[in-house]
Amino acid sequence: VAVKVAEARPAPLDVERIRADFPILSRRVGGRPVVYLDNASTTQKPRQVIEAMSRVYEQHNANIHRGVYEFSERTTELFEGAREKVARFINARATREIVFVRNSTEAINLVMYAWGRENVHRGDRIVTSVLEHHSNFVPWQQLAKDVGAEFVVVDIDDDGRLRRDQFRSELERGARLVALTHTSNGMGTVNPIGELVAEARAAGATVLVDAAQSVPHAPVDARAIGCDFLVFSGHKMLGPTAAGVLWARAELLEAMRPFQFGGDMISRVSAERTEWNEVPWKFEAGTSAYVEAIGLGAAVDYLTGVGLEAVHEHERALMAHLLPRLREVPGVTIFGPRDLDHRSGVVSFVMDGIHPHDAATIFDREGVCVRAGHHCNQPLMTRLGVPATTRASVYLYNTVEECDALLGAIASAKRIFGV
């Protein structure tokens, strides 16, 4: 009999100390302190990330992998060092399994072109879900159309969770590829990704996991998840834009043809033929966004310093404060699982008589930044029966007071609209 050992609770976040690292959080909007609750779209950057990037430009900027002079060597060292940090962060087997791309979307498109076009054939089945961001939906839908494969979209239940029964029965009918999100950007459902991946792999499928909404917010172990491909975006985890990551098992990367051709991705070029560089550089044609990658390395350091368990606990505490209060507001409908265990720090809702865009406009005048729209989740909006939702999403620097500011802004919207 296994003895359950009480897990050590992570030290709580010192949110005020963290906030002091983010220059933008001290700005005011319309005379009020900005309340940034659109972290599922992109996150703010700590001084440490901004300075890491400035240091490159101010002190040793030079193109990577090229020069045999000090600046280039130093920049290359930091760039490849960032790759090592990212590899450790998600527990990759090796740094060569980390390909730097612009964002999750580019990572998925890379897999679609470089792996999908070679390995998905007429009559094959691609299984995905209604929870997917368009970036993990449209590429596979288009691939299916192009090669004559079947595109299967697994539904959710009334609690907003993936329908495991349907997922299993679709796997039984066969799946060449399963493309699933770890955490829904649209309404915050957290999939039991390890179990889903195990079922998919047991059914013989290759599995891609969209971890854009999970890697920034909780410890994610790519190897433990057991998938073949995992993608995420640096800008959603305190890093700069154009610093995205594709993780893939090395043997897959080695077997794949390059996605783009050009400089840096070759080892030998003649008029007759070209030999490819080793992975991961085979997939990094042209000058990489190396300063951004270095910035992402600094973001990884920052998050590791705070501790991803602590980030997760902090977000959970914020949602434990916000969700019950939001549920009490008359006319508010919240989407997604009721149980916090199956939710992230994202809450998507609608208000009777107030369109999400009107709500977001009124919130803005109180300094509260939220997203209104379909969140690149149109199939999910259709499934929920709404054209759009208002979405608030928290991160490590948000506070209980900011959640209360959102509740206050909701009250203002209701007052203005008389509902």
Binding site: R365, H374, I416
Partner: protein, 135 residues
């Protein structure tokens, strides 16, 4: 008092004028703003080049629905030529509220649907002129 969601805007939103389908319509056009899911269908009954009746149906934010409602009040009885003169600036001015760049398409969806119904224009008001200016 809110400078954007003024009483008359909210009144048009809650009690849209000329709302409903128009069975005897000679012209009709449905349009959407895919960004936020706003939808408007404009129905015109045109006789001898004059708008005898106008109706609209739709759903969406207060700005899009109020703007369409205000527009229908204005076009009833006008000739198609007079309709042509109603442009982006006119609609924004007529709304009488400060519209931020992110909400301009909400404010213009009604006009876009109107122009679509009257003469099949499918571009956003203001953009068709930009294109003409470039060519």
């Amino acid at each position: 008092v809110d400078d954007l969601y003024r009483d008359y805007i909210l009144d048009h939103y809650r009690n849209p004028r000329n709302f409903g389908e128009l069975p005897e319509a000679t012209h009709r056009y449905h349009d959407t703003n895919p960004l936020c899911g706003d939808e408007i269908t404009m129905y015109l009954a045109v006789e001898d080049g004059r708008v005898e009746d106008v109706r609209f149906t739709g759903r969406g934010c207060a700005i899009s629905q109020a703007s369409a409602s205000i527009l229908t009040e204005e076009v009833k009885g006008k000739t198609l030529d007079e309709l042509r003169a109603i442009d982006r600036e006119h609609v924004l001015e007529n709304l009488g509220i400060p519209i931020s760049p992110a909400r301009v398409k909400c404010a213009l969806l009604g006009l876009k649907a109107l122009k679509g119904s009257a003469w099949g224009l499918t571009e956003w008001p203001g953009e068709e002129r930009e294109r003409a200016a470039k060519s």
